[in-house]
């Protein structure tokens, strides 16, 4: 499969994403500079973490207006899968491709640690290969990851099964203490109504090899790859 990994000024997880997709999982992954206007032959888009445009004004607020994001809007509207990680999640919310917003951590601290994720639904291109009961141990590294949505939006997220991951403790319980940033109802990641656009604050690309202490994050990319391959087979048939 062909992955496009976007690169904005001050993206800093772009190389990690390419490394996992290409070197660990054996797929084509190329970096696309934010000034590009086309996604080329990409089957899927990854918007990586970082501090695009220095987080000026609001996280993701400037990046969402870059030329490549116009192409991402069209790609997503046509059903193409888009995964936003950390700053990528913030950009997707600013772009209106995902509902809600990410605001300052309740503790006001930048949190950099490993957390546990519980997958709420395997019914998405991003979670279909994750065993139902498996907790994912992956790192977070953000100062503005507190997920906020108004009541009506939250109700819709739940009704449409759009919440993909919750922050939980090692026992898989959704507790206040396991919530690293004050996110509404421990929400760590969501998808859009059509289920082809997803965002999460934790970094699966930093936990995809035994060397990095956990390989759990790999399941997110393997889900996406499995979904793409199934789609390609369905098209060919």
């Amino acid at each position: 499969m062909n992955f496009a990994v976007l690169q904005f000024p001050a993206s800093n997880c772009d190389q990690d994403a390419v490394h996992v997709l290409h070197h660990v999982l054996g797929h084509s992954a190329r970096l696309l500079w934010h000034k590009e206007a086309s996604l080329g032959n990409a089957d899927a888009v990854v918007i990586p973490g970082g501090f695009s445009y220095g987080d000026y004004l609001r996280t993701g607020a400037v990046a969402r207006f870059s030329p490549i994001m116009q192409a991402v809007q069209e790609f997503a509207m046509n059903g193409g899968p888009v995964l936003g990680i950390c700053n990528g999640f913030q950009i997707l919310c600013e772009a209106g491709l995902l509902p809600g917003a990410l605001i300052r951590n309740r503790s006001l601290q930048f949190r950099c640690e490993h957390i546990f994720l519980k997958t709420v639904t395997t019914d998405s291109p991003f979670t279909n290969q994750i065993p139902a009961d498996k907790l994912l141990r992956v790192p977070i590294a953000h100062g503005e990851g507190c997920y906020f949505a108004n009541e009506a939006t939250l109700a819709k997220l739940k009704a449409n099964n759009q919440i993909l991951w919750h922050y939980v403790n090692a026992q898989g319980e959704t507790t206040e203490q396991a919530n690293p940033n004050g996110s509404l109802e421990n929400i760590a990641g969501i998808c859009n109504h059509r289920r082809n656009v997803a965002g999460l604050m934790p970094h699966p690309e930093r936990a995809s090899e035994p060397l990095s202490g956990s390989s759990d994050g790999r399941l997110v990319f393997q889900s996406l790859i499995a979904w793409l391959e199934r789609n390609a087979q369905a098209k060919a048939a």
């Binding site: 607020a61 600013e94 917003a101 300052r104 309740r106 503790s107 006001l108 906020f148 004050g182």
Partner: protein
């Protein structure tokens, strides 16, 4: 012409900065602080003198870019 834009977090949105500043003020002995909201202030210098046109344009910019309507309110003043 100059535009002054004040952006504040919506009431329903958690404002940990505001809360922290409030606690600090109380700690320092300042009394009667009911709430603190930390926001942003932007000054935009404009060419041209058409106030209505400027307001229309900046209102749109505030909505699309300068503030995030999901979490923030804004107030626009022109002088």
């Amino acid at each position: 012409m100059k535009a002054k834009i004040i952006i504040t977090p919506k009431k329903a949105v958690l404002d940990p900065q505001g809360k922290t500043v409030q606690r600090a003020l109380e700690h320092m002995g300042y009394q009667g602080v009911a709430a603190v909201h930390v926001g942003k202030y932007l000054e935009i210098e404009l060419t041209g003198g058409d106030k209505d046109a400027a307001r229309k344009q900046l209102d749109e910019a505030c909505h699309r870019f300068l503030s995030n309507p999901v979490i923030e309110d804004y107030r626009l003043e022109l002088e």
